[in-house]
């Protein structure tokens, strides 16, 4: 796997290069600004890109804008965006760029190397990855008459993992239950929330997120 990194902080950039290198992932280029990032996307054709949200010059959301632009130039280019803080509009912008292959994680998730690598692989495989923090933020802002309140605690856990972009088998493994149990939970959730059952990919994440944001 060949990965492109865009991170303005020199120490973090080097750290990421070292971390991925140690795991046998080839870092094709590591840049510190959006322009170089877009140039490298075209030149190097990486398998995936890891991008910091805040890049020079204004350190606001250049990283997101660059990621959206990169996906416009190369549709379906897998991009994992790292952010210092949770901002679900960033996640929305990113998810709007097309069917899967995107991720939005808090920066510190890189420390849990196994989870981080798993997220990166899922993005490369066309999956959708959302930070648990984003999802839990969406799940707490609920109205009083919300059908969410009729979900059992286990169903809420399953819903959160669905929103984070996990497939049924991953959810089953994380909750230590069988695949059939997960399928049953998901069926109940969709029935209670009035969602039409969809497949397990990006569209399911979008449906769940659309529900959580409504």
């Amino acid at each position: 796997m060949r990965v492109l990194i865009a991170e303005d902080d020199a120490l973090l950039r080097e750290g990421l290069v070292l971390l991925l290198g140690n795991e046998g992932i080839d870092v094709t280029a590591a840049v510190d600004n959006a322009d170089d990032f877009l140039a490298a996307v075209s030149d190097r054709r990486p398998d995936a890109a890891v991008v910091d949200v805040r890049l020079p010059p204004s350190f606001s959301n250049e990283g997101i804008r660059a990621a959206v632009e990169a996906r416009r130039r190369i549709p379906q280019l897998p991009i994992l965006v790292l952010s210092a803080y949770v901002e679900d509009s960033y996640a929305t912008d990113l998810l709007a760029t097309g069917a899967g292959g995107v991720g939005y994680l808090l920066k510190e998730r890189v420390g849990k190397v196994a989870t981080f690598l798993d997220a990166l692989r899922r993005v490369v495989d066309g999956g959708t990855v959302l930070d648990p923090e984003v999802v839990s933020q969406l799940m707490v802002r609920r109205r009083a008459d919300d059908p969410m309140r009729t979900l059992t605690p286990r169903e809420r856990e399953v819903l959160a993992l669905m929103a984070e972009g996990y497939a049924n088998s991953d959810i089953a493994a994380q909750l230590v239950v069988s695949d059939t149990a997960v399928s049953k939970h998901i069926g109940n959730i969709f029935a209670k929330l009035g969602l039409s059952p969809t497949d397990t990919g990006h569209r399911r994440v979008l449906a769940v997120l659309a529900y959580l944001r409504s």
Binding site: L11, G15, L19, V110, G111, V113
Partner: protein
């Protein structure tokens, strides 16, 4: 005794009144001129108002200037400035005409023009006539006999004999007494009326004050917002990145530990160093929010401590320094710290001096002087860049004068009266 006390009091009263009259007479005499001019202008103003609307803005501008002159004269005489407040007159002509017609200050100016035309002229004539009457009556005994018998002095009565002529000094005394009694009163009336009409109406004054307060409050909030954004950025892009670095190093170490435990130790040590860096970074950010020494010692004390630490012998001089808002004092502190660092690093100065003062308009003025070789470039130096941003956020100004050969003077002004 009683008589002498009465005499003394009379003398004191006369002396006081005489001084008042000497001060009042020039004012009332000029008032006679401006009053007479105003009297002539009243019909012009009425004509413009009735049939000359296109000329209204021009006329209003002239009236503003004319009233402005009188405000200055009045302010100078009474020692209390007369406030003025006019809406701006610009834009297309119809807008200007509407502005004049709806401007309460224009109406007050017009009222003043009419009132001053009458009172200024009349009071001025009385004020000048009374002492002139006294002098001329005093002189009558010296010349009445020289006048033709059919055209004698007739005021206040025909002077046709020595008896009548020698009574004239009594008349002069009467005039003089009237002068002393009346003129101070006249000037009081005149200044009271003029001030009442020339000052903006209470509503206008309050509106102006509210507008001013709103603007300064918005400026203060803007400064506050800029400062918050700076702190947010420092925390997110600085401190938080350092902590992410720690987590990242620990992640690498954790993975190494599984593969090759011996290789993990240096990685753990790197993570430890990264954590120490993160702490230092956090300390720096907190210090830039508000240096604790400012709270303990105040700006002058904190600067004295900076100066004492400076490798170049330096002194600090304060002049009328008052406490400023915390954000301003913090900015001032960092300006001086950065300036002294630059002096020590680049200037090769023998001496440096820091001057601190608060101007009457609530502006903190900082000057850092050194006798080094000059040639300092204010564009250079990243430290100075941060300082400039901070000063700009507070609405302040920075000037650097550093000719080749020196001396170098850094001057910073920070407004603190929000």
């Amino acid at each position: 005794m009683v008589v002498s006390v009465g005499q003394r009091r009379l003398r004191a009263w006369v002396a006081g009144a005489f001084a008042d009259v000497r001060r009042a007479l020039p004012f009332l005499a000029v008032g006679l001129l401006t009053g007479f001019m105003s009297l002539l202008l009243v019909p012009v103003a009425v004509l413009v108002l009735l049939i000359g609307w296109p000329a209204l803005p021009a006329a209003a501008r002239r009236l503003r200037r004319w009233a402005g002159l009188e405000r200055r004269r009045l302010g100078g005489f009474t020692g209390t400035p007369v406030a003025q407040h006019y809406p701006p007159l610009d834009g297309p002509l119809p807008d200007q005409i509407r502005a004049v017609l709806t401007d309460p200050s224009a109406r007050r100016d017009l009222a003043w023009l009419a009132v001053h035309g009458l009172t200024g002229t009349v009071l001025g004539l009385i004020a000048i006539g009374l002492p002139l009457g006294a002098i001329s009556a005093m002189l009558v005994p010296f010349y009445w006999w020289a006048l033709p018998a059919d055209r004698p002095v007739t005021s206040p009565y025909p002077v046709t004999s020595w008896g009548r002529a020698l009574a004239m000094p009594l008349i002069a005394l009467g005039y003089a007494a009237l002068t002393l009694l009346l003129v101070p009163r006249l000037v009081r009336w005149q200044t009271t009326w003029s001030r009442a009409l020339l000052s903006p109406a209470a509503g206008v004054r309050l509106r102006a004050q509210v507008a001013e307060l709103t603007a300064s409050r918005a400026a203060a909030l803007e400064v506050h917002g800029t400062e918050l954004r700076r702190i947010e950025r420092d925390l997110h892009d600085g401190t938080q990145n350092r902590l992410v670095g720690v987590v990242l190093q620990l992640g690498i170490a954790e993975r190494a530990l599984r593969r090759d435990p011996d290789a993990a130790l240096p990685l753990v040590l790197r993570a430890q160093n990264a954590a120490t860096d993160a702490l230092a970074e956090l300390r720096d950010v907190v210090r830039t929010i508000y240096p604790p020494v400012l709270a303990e010692l105040g700006l002058d004390g904190a600067v004295a401590a900076l100066v004492a630490r400076c490798p170049v012998p330096a002194t600090v001089a304060t002049n009328g320094l008052r406490r400023a808002p915390a954000a301003v004092e913090a900015a001032a502190y960092f300006v001086i710290a950065e300036a002294l660092t630059n002096v020590a690093r680049h200037s090769r100065a023998q001496r440096a001096e820091v001057r601190l003062s608060t101007r009457p308009d609530q502006t903190l003025v900082i000057e850092v002087l050194d006798d080094g070789h000059g040639g300092a470039d204010q564009a250079a130096g990243s430290g100075l860049l941060g300082i400039r941003r901070r000063i700009a956020a507070l609405g302040g100004r920075i000037e650097l004068a550093s000719p080749p050969g020196g001396p170098t003077v850094l001057r910073v002004e920070l407004p603190c009266g929000f």
